[in-house]
């Protein structure tokens, strides 16, 4: 069994995001980067499936500059077997990323793809669904529980929807996207980091995949949203009710 896990390099979730004064991007000076947290959850699930089923090759892949090798090494240190970096300089939107991932998928022929439901930088929540469409396979998004069935021919998934937890089964291969409560990813261990240094990290140029770094999206400007000002403190429940009735008129 082979599982493909795409990882994205994003600002650490605890970082305070600052927009550059000219609005051309976010400040990256002094910002710590990390693997997108939902991707870590996806990788953790792949590792657990390997532990449960006994044998699986786990391949992590990312698209971006050479600095993204750092996140691939983190993936290898967590326990992935190999890593693929598709070098690209320009910002690529979700559809562009999905096209590149589809090309990597065709080269690797994994049993399925496990990835985060969204990246915490652009918050798009699109790439997995687009990848599934391009590959002509099924998809299950927002997965909070995953189990392989039918001799690994299907997956049974719980997914988190606005209406509550939904259970579906899907034929494999498929693209499964991880939600927050699927698992809690392990920490990277020191022996893991040592081992990761010896694991293969292959660079595959876009040209050899036969795809381009095309994007439909043009970001013109970034800015901070208008802030919300702190209001008044009230001293009692009576004062609160009076303010809501007479001042805010919402009761």
């Amino acid at each position: 069994m082979k599982i493909l896990v795409p990882l994205k390099r994003v600002p650490d979730p605890d970082t305070r995001i600052r927009v550059k004064p000219d609005g051309s991007g976010i400040e990256t000076d002094g910002v710590k980067f990390a693997v997108n947290p939902f991707d870590s959850i996806a990788l953790e699930e792949a590792l657990r499936l390997r532990e449960k089923t006994g044998a699986a090759e786990i391949v992590v892949v990312t698209i971006g500059g050479s600095e993204c090798a750092e996140q691939l090494r983190t993936g290898l240190a967590m326990g992935a077997d190999r890593a693929i970096l598709v070098p690209a300089d320009a910002a690529i939107d979700s559809l562009g990323i999905a096209k590149i991932l589809a090309a990597v998928y065709r080269k690797e022929s994994p049993n399925f793809v496990l990835m985060g439901k969204q990246a915490i930088d652009d918050d798009s929540n699109q790439a997995g669904q687009m990848l599934a469409a391009l590959l002509g396979v099924g998809q299950v998004t927002f997965v909070s529980k995953l189990e392989l069935t039918d001799g690994h021919a299907r997956a049974r998934c719980s997914r988190e929807t606005d209406a509550g937890i939904e259970t579906v089964t899907v034929a494999l291969p498929a693209v499964l996207t991880a939600d927050l409560r699927l698992n809690e990813p392990r920490y990277v261990s020191l022996p893991g980091i040592m081992k990761a240094k010896k694991k293969p990290l292959e660079e595959i140029p876009l040209a050899s995949l036969g795809v381009s770094a095309a994007s439909h999206t043009r970001v013109l400007k970034l800015e901070r949203p208008a802030g919300r000002k702190a209001g008044a403190r009230v001293k009692s429940v009576d004062e609160l009710i009076a303010k809501l009735r007479d001042e805010a008129k919402v009761l």
Binding site: D121, Q129, T141, T161, G164, R218, P225, V237
Partner: protein
């Protein structure tokens, strides 16, 4: 000229009001740069929901009604949406933000080879092109963006667009023929755990009462948060901390990884105000925070803050509001 296809959403045949906000977006685009919009409703036995779409100014209410679409499975729905968008020559395919649209629309957009934007909060026509504003980085950044291509897909935040005023004339209903044999069979629906609380959904409520870490048990949450919600006819919500500790189900979570809401009134009870929570509710009109920690970050965005223990203040509030 804009040709907009608005994907309507329903929950087991009951129309989601956010669908009308998506129409409000479409109407705004048409008012500024011309064109018209159609609704597309998919499901099985959805004629009642279709009726609810006829007074919003749509050129037509397209209905794909077949047992093969009884459950919102992404592979099937996305194909019907993409086929309909092609058949109608749609330039924009739009849906209100929800787990339904997040699941299905990106798949349809790839089938159309269309670029897509999620969480759009504003649109402006500029030099014959549409310029969109969308939210990124958990609400900490607003991006101004344009999309290339003849077809574009968008999810729009319902709180950012008002539903169109009801029209006197009814939009015509047109059936969309679906060849069930052409639909894929990748996924099979097994079950859905529905929570029949009788309370409104947080994404549709005018008032939301939300609870955080200060609530120690599910019983306390139900008694205080649920109790106040019932006094006000409000929806209930929860911080991630309570979901993670198993006190509330995850369908109640408000925040970056849960629901994004913007009601008229939001009660944050014992919620400290983590960035991830505030990303989901800071566009509320009036925020009330009750927390015994005077330094809690939630007070920085609250319109009315009361430093008090929720176990004491909430029962008093309930009792006085009942009068």
């Amino acid at each position: 000229m804009n040709r907009i296809l608005v994907i309507a959403e329903h929950d087991q045949g009951k129309l989601k009001l956010a669908s009308l906000s998506a129409a409000g977006f479409a109407q705004k685009v048409c008012a500024a740069s011309g064109g018209s919009f159609d609704f597309l409703l998919l499901g099985s036995g959805v004629s009642a929901a279709a009726e609810g779409l006829r007074k919003s100014g749509a050129a037509a209410v397209l209905v794909a009604d077949t047992p093969a679409l009884a459950q919102p499975l992404a592979d099937r729905y996305a194909k019907v949406i993409a086929d309909t968008a092609k058949a109608r020559g749609a330039s924009l395919v739009v849906a209100a933000v929800s787990t339904f649209s997040k699941d299905i629309l990106p798949r349809a957009s790839a089938l159309l080879d269309a670029g897509m934007l999620s969480d759009v909060i504003d649109v402006r026509p500029a030099d014959g092109e549409l310029t969109f504003r969308r939210v990124m980085f958990a609400g900490n950044v607003i991006a101004t963006v344009q999309l290339d291509g003849a077809v574009k897909c968008l999810t729009v935040r319902s709180a950012a667009f008002a539903a169109p005023a009801a029209t006197d004339t009814l939009s015509p209903v047109e059936a969309v023929a679906v060849d069930a044999a052409s639909l894929s069979q990748f996924t099979k629906f097994i079950s859905r755990e529905t929570k029949a609380s009788g309370r409104p959904d947080a994404t549709e409520a005018r008032i939301i009462v939300s609870g955080g870490r200060a609530l120690k048990t599910s019983e306390d949450f139900e008694r205080l948060v649920g109790g106040l919600a019932d006094v006000l006819g409000a929806a209930v919500g929860s911080s991630r901390a309570l979901v993670d500790s198993g006190i509330t189900p995850n369908s109640l979570q408000i925040g970056q990884t849960g629901k994004v809401v913007a009601p008229d009134l939001y009660f944050a009870l014992g919620i400290s105000g983590a960035i991830q929570h505030m990303a989901g509710m800071k566009d509320t009109k009036v925020i009330v925070a009750i927390n015994k920690d005077a330094e809690a970050p939630i007070f920085e965005i609250a319109d009315y803050g009361l430093v008090a223990d929720v176990y004491e203040a909430v029962p008093e509030l309930m009792q006085k509001l009942k009068k």
